[in-house]
């Protein structure tokens, strides 16, 4: 796909340009001509039923997977390029830290690889804010699932990325811990795209919602617009279910 100079210059300014992207696994089309654009500082939730193509979309954005067709740019760079990866903080669904390294060692290792600035103080900050102080010398296998998820969250943002790509970031976390994460994310200046099944997370963390079904976008708008649609005695969950049902 050819782009004009103006388009290229615009792309270089925005965290994500995802145009007409298609990705298939054999005969199964996971992402079908999907278009997403995220502006600086924008926080977006990607919603969709199971198997809608959310995780595949995030993997393509983070450069772990290449699309069959279409164009993806992170601040104007290919997702697999070093320039793009410097900007991205990716948290996969069910992430796994290094099981041989302690919590602090994991952070040191990934922090060193990602050339995080002021690494020691950054690690101290993350450990303090995510309440991992009591576990910093422990290895991941001895942690609870929630604490392991917190460690992985810390790993994904250790280099202070300007664009966070997160797949179900609050999995396994209890409510008080979720509150800590909400507050932490709210104070971050980064742009976000978060995949989730849980509407309350989307409501709390983001201002724009994209709904996908069978790999294609079926709705894209502000959270307030979605709330508006749900005013006639319908909950937002009802509205979302109807939107998805109408497509499938």
């Amino acid at each position: 796909m050819e782009f004009s100079d103006t388009e290229l210059a615009t792309e270089a300014q925005i965290p994500l340009s995802f145009r007409n992207v298609t990705k298939s696994y054999g005969k199964n089309i996971a992402v079908n001509g999907l278009n997403i654009e995220i502006k600086n500082g924008e926080k977006v939730a990607l919603l969709g039923e199971n198997g809608a193509g959310k995780s595949t979309t995030l993997k393509i954005i983070s450069g772990l997977m290449r699309p069959d067709a279409g164009s993806v740019r992170i601040y104007g760079h290919l997702p697999s390029s070093i320039s793009a990866k410097k900007h991205i903080g990716y948290l996969p669904e069910d992430p796994s830290p290094y099981l041989n390294l302690s919590v602090r060692e994991n952070l040191e290792y990934i922090g060193a690889i990602r050339q995080a600035r002021n690494l020691e103080s950054r690690i101290d900050d993350l450990i303090y804010n995510l309440q991992l102080k009591n576990y910093e010398k422990q290895k991941p296998l001895s942690l609870s699932r929630g604490n392991r998820q917190k460690l992985c969250l810390a790993l994904s943002i250790i280099h202070e990325p300007s664009f966070c790509v997160m797949d179900e970031p609050l999995n396994y976390l209890d409510i008080p811990t979720q509150e800590i994460i909400f507050q932490y994310f709210e104070n971050m200046n980064s742009s976000f795209i978060i995949s989730t099944h849980i509407l309350s997370i989307a409501r709390r963390l983001t201002e724009r919602i994209i709904i996908i079904s069978s790999g294609a976008k079926i709705w894209d708008g502000k959270l307030a617009e979605l709330e508006e649609m749900g005013k006639n005695g319908k909950t937002m969950e009802n509205v979302l279910s109807e939107l998805m049902k109408n497509v499938s």
Binding site: G63, S81, K85, Y90, P95, S96, Y98, L99, Y109, H159
Partner: protein, 467 residues
């Protein structure tokens, strides 16, 4: 910073217990030398050839430097160039590979100690042998099966050529004669070319890594739907666990010993065993006679392999918590053991029949069918019991070894060696199989009277997050 990074990277590849393994391997080599196993030229040659083959051939076939989930999740999403990452990976895996390879083989170089020149050839050869599998795996990443199989065959023939006296063979340097130089030069040339090609082939877009997770792979699609409706729960448990074989495979590759559970249908395995036993019969009947020691060794290894393969995989993916809601834990475990013993008996049946026939023909000693009719199923049950007991240490930790090698894994080595010893004993003294009775009693005891062990054990596993 570089050293710190490298140290941490190496630590992500293998743990402290890896050193224990290296020490034990080294100890084994010294003991073998001390006990005079090396008095015969062929013993170290077999040993070295075997180790080289299990490092080289699977590396070639699998292709790619092995990575784990954490690498995938956090390393490959980092802003680090492949060109920088791969040499560090290569170095870390070369260190891991070389340490275990050299500890296993360097002792045998003392056979060449009489001539310093030949010793130097030997050292260079061993270094090349530990690096070649890693380089080869880099080259083979993403290549087609036909190419991989062709190269694996060539490698196999190359290793085999040493045993037929060809000096170009990689193990031929051990003969300490003028052929050592040729053997070393061939090995060195292949290693240099392969390593150079590997590094030339790396570019920003290629990812010569092979993701390895500890997941059970279904080899068979199990397209024939099994019917459980209307069955008693006990019968359903036996049917399911008899039908599917969890076949553990361990291959040494690029510094890691990879463990994988392959789930296949027992009927397909039975067909494979029929073909295999027919080939065994043909070779034994037409080419090899009883006086030939090789058939004796081969038969014992087949029996040994069957025991290990049929008994060690199941619990690694067993969802024992199913039992909590379905039936009393001890009943579930008992049924699981019974189904595995029947399964081992069923799978080794073609060998039982073939060996009985060979006994009548006077080709094999009368003891051999006993191996397949009694020893294999009994030991499969005993080993299965042991694998249940060590389960808490096994699950989750077995994805990439020895990167996260647990020393409890090593417990199985003496048990496994004891089984091999016992198989030899039965082949020499048929009535030794009666000694299996205590072992079988152990299985019965474990399955019928260990109610509290299973109950406490499973709850403990659950508490530890293993099931």
């Amino acid at each position: 910073m570089f050293l710190k990074l490298l140290t941490l990277l190496i630590r992500t590849r293998f743990s402290k217990s890896y050193l224990i393994i290296i020490s034990l391997v080294f100890l084994y080599s010294i003991l073998a030398l001390w006990m005079g196993f090396t008095a015969s030229f062929f013993i170290p040659q077999y040993y070295l050839g075997f180790i080289f083959a299990i490092f080289l051939v699977p590396s070639t076939y699998i292709g790619g430097l092995s990575i784990n989930e954490a690498d995938r999740d956090f390393l490959f999403t980092s802003a680090i160039r492949n060109r920088d990452l791969i040499p560090t990976f290569y170095l870390a895996q070369a260190i891991a590979s070389s340490l275990i390879f050299m500890s296993a083989t360097l002792v045998y170089l003392t056979l060449l100690a009489g001539n310093l020149l030949y010793l130097a050839y030997g050292i260079i050869s061993v270094i090349c042998m530990s690096l070649l599998p890693i380089s080869m795996s880099l080259n083979m990443a993403g290549k087609g099966s036909i190419m991989k199989i062709s190269i694996c065959t060539l490698e196999f023939l190359w290793i085999l050529s040493s045993f037929f006296g060809y000096t170009i063979g990689p193990i031929s340097f051990l003969d300490g004669g003028p052929g050592s130089l040729i053997s070393m030069l061939v090995l060195l040339t292949i290693t240099v070319i392969t390593t150079s090609l590997a590094f030339l082939s790396i570019n920003a877009e290629s990812l010569p890594f092979r993701f390895y997770s500890f997941s059970a792979r279904n080899k068979d699609r199990f397209t024939r739907t099994q019917k459980f409706a209307g069955m008693r729960s006990e019968k359903a448990v036996i049917k399911l666990n008899f039908t599917q074989v969890d076949f553990t495979s361990r291959v040494a590759s690029v510094g890691n010993i990879r463990v994988r559970v392959n789930r296949i249908s027992v009927y397909r395995l039975f067909v494979v065993m029929c073909v295999f036993s027919a080939a065994y019969f043909a070779v034994s009947f037409f080419y090899i006679r009883m006086e030939n020691f090789q058939i004796f060794i081969a038969t014992s290894y087949i029996a040994w392999f069957l025991i290990i393969a049929m008994s060690s995989g199941t619990m690694s993916k067993e969802r024992a918590w199913l039992s909590l809601s379905a039936m009393p834990i001890e009943s579930y475990m008992r049924l699981l053991m019974i189904s595995k013993i029947i399964q081992a008996l069923f799978v080794s049946l073609p060998f039982s029949i073939v060996t009985i026939f060979l006994v009548f023909e006077g080709i094999l000693p009368t003891s051999v069918p006993l191996l397949f009719l009694f020893v294999v199923p009994s030991f499969a049950g005993i080993n299965f019991t042991i694998s249940l007991i060590r389960k808490p240490y096994q699950v989750l930790q077995e994805d990439i070894l020895p990167s996260i090698y647990n020393s409890s894994q090593f417990m199985t080595v003496p048990i496994s060696l004891f089984m091999l010893f016992f198989i030899f004993l039965v082949m020499i003294y048929p009535f030794a199989f009666l000694l299996l009775i205590p072992g079988t009693l152990l299985v019965i005891f474990a399955s019928f009277f260990s109610r509290f062990y299973w109950q406490n054990g499973i709850y403990r596993w659950i508490e530890m997050g293993y099931v």
